[in-house]
């Protein structure tokens, strides 16, 4: 339950050594740069020579349809050699593209002709014969169906329309007319919105024959285009493999170049400052000493650093997966306490209580293990831990996949009369609900203690004493809850005048006037920001909110009991259904029911437990104002990328 200790380090040396230093730092991946300071001394990395060349190289690979495949290992190249290779292939591609352009135009023409001829497939007449008629004019095209319906009007006229296809909107076909009246007939068809289509010169024979020829020609065109755009020669393939390696090298260099912005350069010297984990500072110093001309100042304690250190969580194997939940909310400041272990324990317990079933807990464990092992999901590790607690509480409830009596012999062997806790028994309901409240009170008090520790560590004296989440709030809440519990359960009235004054009135007044009192502690001067009246009114509304929040936070834990009962209730329904369907189908019902309940309840309980953590507990002590530890490191270099 800790935050990694940091050291502040200054590195400086000749400007030319900076890339080498960055290579070492990215390899070690434990240096968080200090980005404060004047930007005018930072190198301008917008003109990254490697990035531009990388994009060109990747475009070359994309144009040649080179599959990314496995990323080759990093090799060293000279920038000029890379530039030459990229230029050479760029020229080749441009030449091929120019040659392709004509082929594509031709392909488009043939596709258009094919589309037209598809509508004439039923015609078994040679198109050359039709278009070579001397005394008859022929027009090919499509006639809208509305126009087609008007053709009977012209039934006495000397022309004929023959349709070969109807696509739902248009009739495709020819109309024939004597040459001497062709203009008049053209006008008639124009008025019917006939669209004339010109058959290309390369179409000969019947439509079916033409289509076959067109398809053959299109295949030839495709082959030529393929040849121009895809490398087939062995030398080309080898070159492209080298180009892929060059891309990896370029990507690597481009990233290093971009990182130079973290340094400050004055004259010929660079200065790079940042944080490193204390345990690794010696290793870094030794590695950097090997860089020519590079010097490292003695690392100083982070407390003396000019800026607040970043936060890197450091937890044991049990708590580590829960760092994901904490990070979702935020990171603690460097001097703050790490709540991860607190979350790990409370979350697991809450989950276990609400999802108590020995068998289902085991399944959750196994599923979590599988997820963690094969998918590397942190949630899998969390489920493993939660599953264990589910099993523990499932044992206490005596429930195994909804079977409530399976563990009875075990309890008898242990000397118990029956289950430690019979969830579905009416007499247990009150216990469960009150127990939930009690657990909630305990957790809230723990959260308040955490809050006080955090404030103490950060030196917030005023907040420590007077805040509703500080000592005053703790005493007030503990006094109310303790007094109420004693009165209701032990029949002892603790609310004596002394108790009331010390436990309730004084803390209340401390919280009421928290702001001016905090100011007094900080500056030794009493100052009312909003005047007397404003302070009183503000205090009234704030205390109203504080009291309401205490009440609602406490009541919120009732959901724990609710979910315990709900879980048991749902399994009871599954068992009832299993009994109803008879012995044959009962196992199926039980299995499906368990899967359903595990899925649904598991999800709901997981979310509810997290909600309790975030809203009821974190809000009491966790400011989450830490800066994440973001060390310099390289992402895996790519050989291909998106084409621009």
């Amino acid at each position: 339950m800790a935050i990694e200790k940091m050291k502040y380090m200054n590195i400086y040396g000749p400007k030319d050594s900076l890339p080498g230093v960055l290579e070492v730092l990215t390899e070690l991946a434990c240096f968080h740069p200090d980005t404060d300071g004047k930007d005018e001394f930072r190198p301008n990395v917008s003109d990254n020579p490697y990035s531009e060349l990388l994009h060109q190289a990747q475009n070359v690979l994309a144009d040649l349809h080179v599959d990314s495949g496995e990323t080759p290992e990093l090799m060293q190249f000279e920038l000029q050699d890379v530039r030459d290779m990229v230029d050479t292939y760029r020229k080749k591609i441009d030449q091929a593209a120019a040659a392709c352009k004509d082929l594509l135009e031709e392909k488009k023409l043939y596709a258009h002709a094919r589309h037209q001829l598809r509508h004439l497939e039923q015609m078994d007449v040679n198109l050359d014969d039709i278009f070579s008629l001397k005394y008859v004019k022929v027009r090919f095209g499509r006639l809208p169906k509305e126009g087609y319906r008007k053709l009977p009007y012209y039934s006495g006229r000397e022309f004929s329309f023959r349709a070969f296809d109807f696509d739902g909107e248009y009739y495709w076909g020819f109309y024939f007319s004597p040459e001497n009246i062709s203009k008049e007939v053209d006008a008639i068809f124009a008025s019917l919105h006939f669209e004339r289509l010109r058959v290309p010169d390369f179409v000969h024979g019947t439509p079916t024959q033409s289509l076959a020829r067109i398809e053959t020609h299109e295949a030839q065109l495709n082959a030529k285009i393929e040849e121009l755009t895809t490398p087939t020669q062995e030398q080309t393939r080898t070159d492209l493999q080298v180009l892929q390696r060059m891309c990896v090298w370029l990507d690597h260099k481009a990233q290093i170049y971009n990182m130079e912005k973290y340094a400050q350069v004055l004259g010929d010297t660079f200065y790079l400052s940042g944080f490193v984990p204390k345990v690794k500072s010696k290793n870094i110093t030794e590695r950097l000493a090997q860089c020519p001309g590079c010097k490292v100042s003695d690392p100083i304690a982070s407390a003396d650093a000019p800026i607040p250190p970043p936060t890197q969580l450091k937890n044991n194997w049990f708590s580590r997966p829960f760092e994901m939940y904490v990070s979702m909310y935020g990171l603690p400041a460097y001097k703050d306490i790490d709540p991860t272990s607190f979350v790990a324990i409370t979350y697991s317990i809450l989950f276990g209580i609400m999802f108590g079933d020995l068998g289902q807990g085991l399944v959750v464990c196994i599923v979590g293990w599988l997820l963690h092992k094969f998918k590397k999901m942190p949630l899998g590790a969390i489920l493993q831990r939660c599953g264990v607690f589910s099993m523990i509480f499932g044992f206490l409830y005596g429930s195994v996949f909804g079977y409530e009596e399976l563990l009875t012999p075990v309890f008898h062997a242990m000397g118990l009369a029956g289950k430690p806790l019979e969830v579905l028994a009416p007499e247990s309901t009150n216990f469960i609900l009150l127990g939930s409240i009690a657990l909630g009170v305990f957790l809230i008090l723990c959260a308040l203690v955490y809050g006080m520790i955090s404030k103490a560590r950060r030196g917030y004296k005023g907040e420590f004493f007077f805040s509703p989440n500080g000592l005053a709030g703790f005493v007030f809440y503990a006094a109310i809850v303790g007094g109420a519990a004693a009165l209701l359960m032990l029949n002892r009235n603790l609310f004596t005048p002394i108790f009331i004054i010390i436990g309730l009135v004084i803390p209340f007044l401390m919280m009421y006037f928290a702001e001016p009192l905090t100011h007094l502690v900080k500056t030794h001067k009493l100052h009312l920001e909003d005047g007397v009246g404003g302070t009183l009114v503000n205090g009234f509304f704030e205390m109203f909110d504080v009291l309401l929040t205490f009440a609602s936070n406490t009541m919120s834990f009732l959901r724990i009991g609710g979910f315990v009962l709900a879980h048991a209730g749902m399994m009871s329904v599954v068992m009832t259904l299993a009994e109803m369907v008879g012995a044959g189908a009962a196992p199926v019902v039980v299995i499906i029911g368990n899967i359903f309940v595990m899925g649904m309840e598991g999800l709901i309980v997981g979310i509810q437990a997290l909600r309790l953590e975030f809203y009821e507990m974190f809000s009491r002590f966790f400011d989450a104002d830490g800066t994440p530890f973001a060390p310099l490191k390289l992402r895996t270099p790519r050989s291909t990328g998106s084409k621009e």
Binding site: E146, G147, R149, K150, Y153, G168, Y170, S191
Partner: protein, 346 residues
């Protein structure tokens, strides 16, 4: 009307259709197009007109084609809803009567002006086989005798025979009056036959308001553009025999007004501008249609009567078509968008 439960499907379907209608913003965009082709491309890509424009790939969409497609669009919407009308009297038939009246009037107009051979060009192909008379036969008619023979076996014959017996005394306005009166009378009868009593008022209101606006529009146009050309008696003969907000007596008073100013005095004095807007402010009768547009939209959104919703939807579609045609004309003649906006009914 539409007594079967399955007719209720018309309501959500209609609301689904109207949810894609042109918004004010989209009308503005249309008004700022540079030519008819751009308007056509815009409408082609608009979901409200998708069904009608699908497959249209012409590089240049002409005005007539565009107008035909818009008419077809209304018919397609009608078709998509008609299948849910299982009423005995077929209320949905009112739409076809309206289309037939429109075609007959168009054909008559062309016959009277000597352009009968051009009727075939604008004949809506989607209506062939849907009308009670042969549209292709109507396109072949070259005189009133042939015209009457086409409609011989329809109610239109009885209406038009007295009016078309003498070419010299042909009165188009009288024909229009006869046919439109027939349309509204028939429609109101269909409503009485097919609607439960409590649903009738709402749906009748749509048609009677439409007819009333037609009457007001007629009087307004005569007083604006043909002052002194018609006597009050002649105007009375042209008015449709239906009323909703404006009693017959008031309508006749307005018909007898000397000029536009006196018309406005009577009109506003009776408070009709609250329902139909102030045509003096807007310099057009579009304001009256605008009120009907909003009324129809309200009915379509809130009514639980399938037939009423159908009528509202088709009325809105007609108004929308009229708006787009006004925009097309405005763009063609390079009118300023602010002038075009005055003519729109929304």
């Amino acid at each position: 009307m539409l007594g079967r439960t399955s007719s209720l499907a018309m309501i959500p379907k209609s609301r689904g259709i109207i949810s894609h209608h042109l918004t004010e913003q989209e009308y503005e965009e249309l008004m700022h197009k540079r030519n008819v082709n751009e308007i056509g491309i815009y409408l082609r890509n608009h979901p409200y007109f998708h069904d009608s424009f699908v497959g249209i790939q012409e590089p240049d969409i002409h005005r007539e084609r565009l107008e035909d497609l818009l008419s077809r669009d209304i018919y397609y919407k009608f078709e998509s809803l008609r299948r849910y009308d299982f009423s005995s009297g077929k209320f949905a038939h009112f739409f076809l009567i309206d289309c037939e009246v429109h075609e007959l009037l168009h054909a008559l107009q062309l016959l009277a002006t000597g352009g009968a051979e051009t009727y075939i060009i604008r004949l809506p192909g989607f209506l062939t086989n849907q009308t009670s008379f042969d549209l292709i036969g109507l396109a072949h008619a070259r005189n009133f005798t042939e015209f009457l023979s086409v409609v011989r076996h329809t109610p239109y014959y009885g209406l038009l025979r007295p009016l078309l017996s003498d070419v010299a005394s042909f009165d188009y306005a009288a024909c229009e009056h006869a046919l439109r009166s027939y349309y509204y009378t028939e429609t109101l009868e269909l409503i009485d036959k097919n609607f439960p009593a409590k649903e009738r008022p709402a749906v009748k209101e749509l048609f009677t308001r439409e007819a009333e606006i037609y009457n007001l529009d007629l009087i307004y146009r005569i007083k604006s553009f043909f002052p002194g050309s018609y006597t009050p008696k002649e105007i009375e003969e042209l008015l449709l025999p239906v009323s909703f907000e404006v009693p017959r007596k008031r309508m006749l008073e307005m018909a007898a007004a000397r000029d536009l100013r006196q018309l406005a005095t009577i009109y506003k004095g009776c408070g009709y501008d609250k329902d139909y807007g102030d045509f003096q402010v807007e310099s057009s009768s579009a304001c009256a249609w605008r009120q009907l547009y909003h009324k129809s939209m309200h009915i379509l959104r809130f009514s639980l009567s399938p037939g009423t919703v159908l009528a509202a939807l088709l009325l809105l579609a007609k108004i929308e078509r009229s708006n787009i045609i006004n925009i097309i004309e405005g763009v063609r003649y390079h009118l300023d968008p602010s002038d075009i906006r005055l003519l729109l009914k929304y």
